[in-house]
């Protein structure tokens, strides 16, 4: 393989770079205001679409970048980890993470950012996460077959649709821009409604 990336790293460099990448992750999350549960949950009340913009936007940027770099041969895409598709566990797990989001106010990543900027509710949320993971581990043997069964392998949208990744990346970008535009319209109308009420 004459691709440059992904890299194979010595242990020391691995640790340093992991922390550095995490630093950037936390930095941008906090800059966007995602250390605040009020801002995050605003998405689910339709008056602050930042969560969608940041998530979807980041996915599109990274996806386009990966497509470009793998076509240029700089990235060996075969070595990039693609999650396996356990559809039913991911569906149910997703519902639970979403529920945890609106009840608790955070998700695991943003919870760390909240805790690091002094939010007690963020810290308590993180404690809850650890408790939840513990409960999961203890009870997992009773639904082990459901949890580990029926993986469809690393299924990508490219496989499901038959379209090459570049085309999908473009469609994703177009959908994202459409969603952002829609979101801003809704934001403005919610703001107008609020102004009328006051």
């Amino acid at each position: 393989m004459n691709a440059l990336f992904p890299l194979t790293l010595s242990t020391g460099l691995f640790v340093v770079l992991s922390i550095a990448l995490g630093f950037l992750f936390g930095f941008f999350l906090e800059r966007a205001g995602f250390g605040s549960a009020l801002k995050l949950t605003g998405q689910f009340y339709l008056n602050d679409w930042s969560v969608l913009k940041v998530m979807f936007g980041a996915i599109v940027v990274a996806c386009l970048g990966l497509v470009l770099l793998s076509m240029m041969g700089i990235v060996d895409f075969g070595m990039i980890y693609v999650p396996e598709a356990y559809y039913l566990p991911m569906l149910i797990g997703g519902l639970m993470v979403g529920l945890g989001f609106i009840v608790g106010g955070y998700c695991p990543g943003t919870g760390v950012v909240a805790a690091s900027t002094g939010k007690w509710d963020g810290l308590v949320f993180l404690a809850g996460i650890v408790a939840g993971i513990f409960v999961f581990g203890v009870t997992e043997p009773s639904f082990h077959d459901f949890f580990t069964g029926n993986s469809r392998g690393p299924v990508t949208l490219s496989q499901l649709t038959g379209l090459p990744s570049g085309v999908l990346a473009f469609l994703l970008a177009a959908m994202a821009i459409g969603a952002f535009w829609l979101g801003e319209k809704v934001e403005r109308s919610m703001q107008a409604k609020k102004a009328v009420q006051e």
């Binding site: 599109v60 386009l64 497509v67 470009l68 076509m71 895409f77 075969g78 070595m79 990039i80 980890y81 693609v82 999650p83 396996e84 082990h144 580990t148 069964g149 993986s151 392998g153 690393p154 990508t156 490219s158 496989q159 038959g162 090459p164 990744s165 570049g166 085309v167 990346a169 473009f170 469609l171 994703l172 970008a173 177009a174 821009i177 952002f180």
Partner: protein
């Protein structure tokens, strides 16, 4: 200069740049996909076959599996009982007579290398040829699953060759990775040699499926 800047808002400009970039990517990837794999005209294909460019060596495949690559699909063309008995890790079972039915084709991805294998070399070679003509990037595992046994699973020393240092390291890695767990082929298959028990092979004889800890958040 001022008016032009004001009219074209930053957001519109950014959206236009992203869409333009995405469109270029889309077109480029469509072009790349149609050029990937072996040529489908008979003369070039014949030349490729002579140069063995339609084959994947068992060691190469073992390396892909070790690296947990995601850019290939491994298809087992044999009968269902043979697949259940033993199959190469990461293989998916699609018998040859169902490969070109709707259900079979749906599982194949055009963007990935399709590697087919069977007991020997005949059926897989024909299958890979048919797939190539249909536009897939198809290859066959050279000499089928028997070569997999010989090259990857069986220790080199049993075949009487002097192990070379570099190859030895890779072999150790491959053996450790692929010999974890009960893997004796059924006696009735007859072709593959019985696997000698490996000292220190990891994994107990737990009948439960072990959790595959991938990278990422799992």
């Amino acid at each position: 200069m001022k008016n032009w800047e004001v009219r074209l808002s930053g957001k519109t400009l950014a959206a236009a740049v992203v869409l333009g970039f995405g469109a270029v990517m889309a077109l480029a990837s469509m072009a790349a996909q149609s050029n990937a794999g072996l040529p489908s005209n008979p003369q070039s294909l014949a030349a490729a076959i002579v140069e063995e460019r339609d084959h994947v060596q068992p060691r190469e495949l073992a390396q892909w599996i070790l690296e947990k690559r995601t850019d290939y699909q491994l298809i087992d063309l044999r009968a269902a009982w043979e697949f259940d008995d033993y199959h190469i890790p990461t293989a998916v079972h699609i018998p040859l007579d169902q490969l070109f039915a709707d259900a079979g084709l749906k599982q194949l991805e055009r963007g990935k290398k399709i590697v087919v294998y069977g007991l020997g070399a005949g059926h897989p070679a024909q299958a890979s040829l048919l797939l190539t003509l249909k536009g897939y990037q198809a290859y066959s595992l050279k000499e089928g699953i028997t070569a997999w046994w010989d090259d990857v699973m069986t220790p080199q020393s049993l075949r009487g060759e002097a192990p070379d240092p570099a190859g030895y390291q890779q072999l150790r890695q491959l053996r450790q990775r692929f010999s974890g767990g009960p893997v004796t082929p059924a006696a009735s298959s007859g072709v593959a040699p019985a696997l000698p028990s490996m000292p220190g092979a990891p994994g107990g004889g737990t009948p439960k499926k072990k959790l595959k800890l991938g990278r990422g958040c799992s």
